[in-house]
Symmetry: C2
Subunit: 200 residues, 2 copies
């Protein structure tokens, strides 16, 4: 099997900030091709009655603290809890889907997370996503029109279907074939799995 790792993520997932920041570099250093796959974890969580933080203040408080510690350990900037939840219309995720179809997904997603975590802005707000697209040198109106049109909505739904079929329930999830690894803290396990699969 190819030395490829599928990176399923949702802009709005808190721990995904770590993977969005580090997974590409970590995978590249291991000679693994990372394929960015935005999907609607929110849809799957709703279907699966899986609400990890909302209504769970103890778990929520821990999550922010753990995220802060992990970011520090990994050398990733962290400046306190940003707004949460975000992207109610999943607009940022649909723009990321367009970007994945056109090969600028990492740049967009990293900029969206930077706006969210460091700028404390919801990248799902049209004004924020416009500003991000503009800074990336994209045609802002074209991108927003595409993100709102059926082709991108269908591609986003298809990616979500694919995630459901793999048994995915959270973001980030790394997949190699049908083997899935949930959480930024499983990135190294996933990369080791790619190595082992190549050996067999």
């Amino acid at each position: 099997m190819a030395r490829r790792l599928d990176f399923f993520f949702f802009i709005g997932s808190t721990y995904s900030y770590l993977s969005v920041s580090r997974a590409a570099g970590t995978a590249q250093a291991r000679g693994v091709d990372l394929v960015w796959r935005p999907f609607s974890v929110r849809t799957l969580m709703r279907e699966q009655n899986n609400s990890p933080f909302v209504g769970k203040p103890f778990k929520m408080r821990y999550m922010w603290r753990d995220l802060e510690r992990r970011a520090k350990r990994l050398g990733i900037a962290f400046d306190g809890a940003p707004p949460y939840p975000i992207d109610p219309e999943e607009l940022a995720n649909r723009v990321a889907t367009l970007a994945a179809l056109e090969d600028w997904c990492p740049e967009f997603t990293q900029a969206a997370y930077k706006a969210w975590f460091l700028g404390k802005q919801d990248p799902g707000r049209p004004a924020v996503v416009r500003s991000i697209l503009d800074e990336l040198g994209q045609d802002v109106d074209r991108c927003l029109a595409a993100a709102n049109a059926d082709a991108v909505r269908d591609a986003y739904a298809a990616q979500t279907d694919r995630a459901r079929e793999l048994g995915i329930f959270g973001s980030p999830t790394f997949a190699h074939g049908t083997e899935i690894f949930w959480g930024d803290d499983r990135l190294e396990d996933a990369l080791a799995w790619v190595d082992d699969a190549g050996d067999s």
Copy 2:
């Protein structure tokens, strides 16, 4: 602060199998004293509306697979999913509480997990717990009488209160002072925290 790490666990937590198997040795190698603290995570989960696996088949299936992979990586025996959930009366956990008061908690808890994960038996069943106690050379009737009496029940409840005050919501959780680390995969982070706390 002393080089001590509190190990909050519940016999019935699946991932705690890894920590019950390895935390004492890992901590000892780092010169850290591990304090075993059985508590009722079930009580806290009920209070916090936090049901990690029951009713969540995708997450449940992933958990067993991930546990299998992690066990293999850590050199811990794994032989397929054991019965789940277990210990409805929390009898095994109350015996562990007695054992913690008397200083034989690691031996009992490790034997209980072995019976559960490898023997595929519920260590909360009186016949199973009797057999475990007998093998450990304990006075079986004395232990069961104590585990059912108020002093042990109160100690177990007090440990659960302590966990609640720390903001604990899952098992295993490692605590150093008021800093908490959830999950077997945070054991190394917790031990590093003890090191850093000692340096300051």
